[in-house]
Symmetry: D3
């Protein structure tokens, strides 16, 4: 269950409205790595969790905070849009270059559809979608997804910080960036803890039977490009991070196999190679549906 | 530039057609974490790269291999579909329970749209989309995204391995799982190397100025749920993975701020609270467009 | 801010797993009129609200309950999937008709992608998307959207009730249907209250100036089909619901205007009618970019 | 069957081209509540109708008019785009601030993809999609959806009216706004008529058996937020709009149930909690696929 | 303007309901090459047309017929769904293998969302979308798109014909296939006529200035694969279809250029290569925003 | 298999950065008819091919070149974005009209999400999607789709050529336009060759039995609009392009059939016309689930 309190975790008011910036801020609200994504992602990982205890509690504990961040950003955006211009004719823009600049930079749907309100979309107006959520049921994989989400989110917030000089907006971003620092660290700590206690180890999933894997390809870097320095990294020689092998390097594939011949599906799919002798030229009737050779 | 060779990196032929399984295999071809995703993701990270040398070479070297995996899976799926049933009427299903089972489990568009062919979609028929690709320009964040992609991909391939007993399909999956092991290790090695050489460190992005972050919130776990064990993990006390702080724990937020008052946009957006005295009741004309209070 | 409690508003456990039904239940979790939609919709309406007080409090009060319903359904679905079959080969289905029936009816991504978990998608696997949310800033319009959402949701839950005889699932649906009854009534009460107090009246938006509307078309039913009974309803004669007019009926449009002539954009858009005399036949150079006639 | 006549219901020509406004007008053509949506929605409701007579005739009668509105807007947009600028280089914009303003505000695909033509997309370029259509087979629910669509559409048209001072565009909008007034009234009249004749009543669906609903939750407002005025509305006390109950108010849920324990799916889904004793540590083989506890 | 008549162009009733087939038939209603696509495509091409007369009349003339085909298929699908099963529990399927087969093969949203009705989606439940429409303003290109749409549509209808033995369904498909034959022929005739009268010729667009094209690459087949027979076709030697050149063949590219060096954007994008000397190590402040080298 | 070489087929560097134009160029990279679409389309057609030899070799031979074009455009876009502005506040735009113009015209996600990098999206930021790909298994249909794709692509490139005066960008476009000329010609040559050798002829699919088609409708133009010149084209009289009939012309449909009566699905779908006598008014229980009439 979720309970709502009409307070915010941190101040979320701009110094003054800025409809152009409101559009940009939509990215960290409704974009691929926005707050809706992490709130939903941690929620689904918790609801699908196969283990009670600290990992699930962690997911619930951070997830509920992120729903509050969704709220903070939505409210901030509504305030940034408070003076969104209504008159947007070409004539008005000709008379006022700043207005012209503003028009081009705003989200027109924020005005027409939402009446100067926030929306569950990214900075290009693409609606948020459920496919942004990763919840596989394997915690080491999912916590790595979470660490990535917090990294991408912090990179975006850092970029947004430099796109405004509004003190109120920057103050909120300084707060959110700090929380991204925290959560980035937490998911990496959880990744380490899963491995340390042996609950899950590398490679993920660690309980897939080794004898069902073609191990001769498991630690060999096969370089399909012609980059000269590809062999210099720690990914081409030395021990592997999973502690179970040694990297080796090969310049392109050693062996290959011929392509299998083209398929011959039932002629009633009317592919190009449906054998003509199967069709009675006079009547057009397909004579034999089974023989395709 | 890409050059194509009409050979495959590994055998990709099933023991016998299986249209039901063909649909399942679409997930690792055209799903969120399928081969199209990683091929495109490594490509865009390379094309947007800001550093010449080993990291870009690595992206190109693995990326080109993944385009070949797209091809292997597409060809495997076409073969699995080679005997896809045409007659799919309810009557036919009543007569043949196996056919009925088959019908429900196949991708109907593989038959109707592609004539028993592979398609750039996932196992539910959702088209592959560009938003599956992550390429932020920050290599530590992006390599973490890559590690996650290889982990999710390996989890899915492992599940698919147990959904068939076809020797040919399992053989290909054993190969792909091995490559996922390799690439998972490689991206983690690259993540470690970036940090070891100081090119990028945690938290990502590491060059965001510390004094622009509200540091008092950077290492504090604020638990917004009531999970009793939330404080037990290594994410609630002790040193943080970025080596720059100490985790602390707090049960819910210490302070909060009141919500800002609702916004009052221009009355010509016709929101509910457009002040009625602004409108001349007789004529309906809005008298003053600027004053909203 | 949102706070999470690890309890549920109502029991949400099935009598036994049923992976086929789990897929169906996804509709009221992640479909167009599922719980994610209403939770988000009420949230965005509240965050964009232009009036403090009872209407905004109502949005927050119901919205937070709906986030808890998202959780109840996700957890129910995870339990329904707990025994989701892994072996799904055609051979296995041939041996077990029930398995075959099951396979065709389940969401394959629930198995391959989520490892027997709930996902933010509908019953056909389409990801939930932000465009399901309506929040225009006009409360009478938006509360009508909310009433519709609760009606559609109750219709779907009622259908789902009859697709299972699992006591636990039916118990949860009986609860959710009751809440849909309540919320349907509440939004209709709020629609009535807005009108009774004159905050907003019909037609929506009520403060659009009457003299800017072509009133001669505001209450005339122009029938563009040939249905004989079209004129019999209360929508073709008598007073209008907004209390401002009288319905009249017309069989097709009285007058019409000719289509404007086709457009002639700049020839450098290379439309078919770019006048050939503008292009120097010998050199292919476009001679005059401005004259298009 | 549909028959087309090369005339328009009303004049649809701008006083002069305005490529910036053309983009805005796309919202009421191809947006969520644009003319394509209502034309298709009324069509599908009619085609799926379970009752012959006046309600189906009404759907056909309005639906066909809306297809004509699609045409009027498409033609208007093509004319607004007739002088869409071709040269859009940064240098050109530097030389001409108005051009710069124009560039940012136009739909670039209208130029590049359509050669100065209308497209089935909204004002942000999102393609129109079938999920905008609601057609449940329950007329009271669907007519409420229609009333909402006409309300949202009229709100958007009213906003668009104030974004231009072009006489021709405003003239068309004055006409469309009048038709929205009419159709808004018609659907509300139809909603009332359905109830008056007892064909369908509240709550929707009215024929869901009362004894299958947890009636103790059907009229109780459970406030999950802390808004002080939540209890003041007509939705918290007094008779309910469906005439079947009395509203009551409760501050938060009275009772709750503990979360069910996490699920334990088949270990071959490789979730984190796949019990380790099931896997032979030496060989990696999963020993027992059935026992998961 | 469109006028609706409550009659159909051809009989559209099945011999008996078949919910499994209803799902398949959705493909030619709401799929990429379904009737909604061609109806909308011909409409937008007409509305954007730059030439009055026969070509635009042709677009209107066929377009309006296609809207009627949308209706025929929607009505057919509603009838096929008339006996769609409600009880869909696993137990019910175990008791009745045919029901099990049926369940897996139907569109669950047709039942849950539409109450046994047609929907604007394809056979996998993907909503129809505006991006299926092609309308570039260049008639030769667009008529080629139309010919392709009618070809793909006829292929799909032909496949669907063999997936049922219902006399009523086959009768409708025989009619639609005949219309596809007609329209396929018409668009090809129009393509030929455009060229014969010199309105537009190959290559499209024919009025792009020849001297702005790198003609040395305009007729050379550069083979980037190793297929031995690639040079045997009429596309590798002899005159070109546009009548303006001679095909030549080359095995791979003759020359190539080195990749440009990686980009160095502003360090405030926090890319990996943001030069460290720009950042004050102690304070983290970025010292110089402009120098990136 | 694909092999990558770190060279380009042609120079792909702009004379100077231009972030506004970078957005436009995304259309031919990640739009419906961009390079990703053709690369993937030719790939899937080859992988699904039912014939070995020259046609499949052609698909592979061109397809691999197109993947290289994806790379050229991505790299060009990254360079165009190299000086993408960071500071984008309203104040900054007021001070610098050119900056204002630039801001409105750029893709904000290129900055916020990609850090000045290319992305797999179109010029409006819509992600590339698998539904852009056509691969039906019928080569004559698919090669027509390919010809259309190259035509649309060349039209777009020609328009983009006139939207910039940057020498480097124009040089690359001159090259790509030349390749579009070539590939347009090649697919048309292949279409002709398929027909000349009788592998596939018109109408597509040519092997659908003639006696299963309602031939009386196969060559008759039925004009559903009132365009006076509709009968003048070569599509209304004379021999048909498939060489199998004669066009005839009819002004509207000759005959029609009445609409079938509305459907009566199971009352448990709770449609409006679920007969009331089936429901016990007192208890609300549905008495008889089977009788719906």
């Amino acid at each position: 269950m979720f309970f709502h309190k009409q307070e915010l975790q941190f101040t979320a008011s701009p110094s003054k409205p800025d409809a152009v910036y409101a559009r940009r801020l939509q990215e960290v609200l409704g974009g691929q790595y926005g707050e809706i994504s992490v709130a939903m992602q941690y929620g689904f990982q918790a609801w699908n969790s196969h283990k009670p205890g600290k990992y699930r509690d962690l997911l619930f504990g951070i997830g509920a905070e992120e729903f509050g961040h969704v709220e903070m950003l939505a409210i901030m955006i509504a305030q940034l849009l408070e003076k969104a211009p209504v008159e947007q004719s070409e004539a008005a823009m000709a008379a006022d270059p700043v207005l012209g600049a503003v028009i081009g930079g705003t989200d027109v749907q924020a005005a027409i559809v939402a009446g100067a309100g926030a929306r569950p979309v990214d900075s290009n107006g693409n609606p948020w979608q459920g496919s942004y959520v990763t919840a596989s049921g394997n915690l080491l994989a999912d916590f790595t997804a979470n660490a990535n989400a917090e990294m991408q989110g912090r990179v975006q917030a850092a970029r947004l910080y430099n796109m405004t000089d509004d003190k109120g907006v920057r103050d909120l971003l300084s707060f959110l960036i700090a929380r991204d620092t925290m959560h980035q660290n937490q998911w990496l700590a959880a990744v380490a803890e899963l491995q340390a206690e042996g609950t899950e180890t590398l490679p993920v999933p660690s309980n897939f039977p080794i004898n069902q894997e073609h191990r001769e390809f498991s630690y060999e870097y096969i370089n399909f490009s012609d980059g000269k320095t590809a062999a210099e990294g720690s990914w081409a020689s030395g021990p592997t991070p999973d502690g179970k092998g040694e990297f080796s390097y090969r310049d392109g594939p050693e062996t290959s196999v011929p392509m299998p011949p083209p398929t011959q599906p039932d002629p009633r799919f009317f592919g190009t190679d449906a054998k003509p002798n199967l069709v009675d030229k006079a009547t057009g009737v397909i004579k034999d549906k089974l023989s395709t050779k």
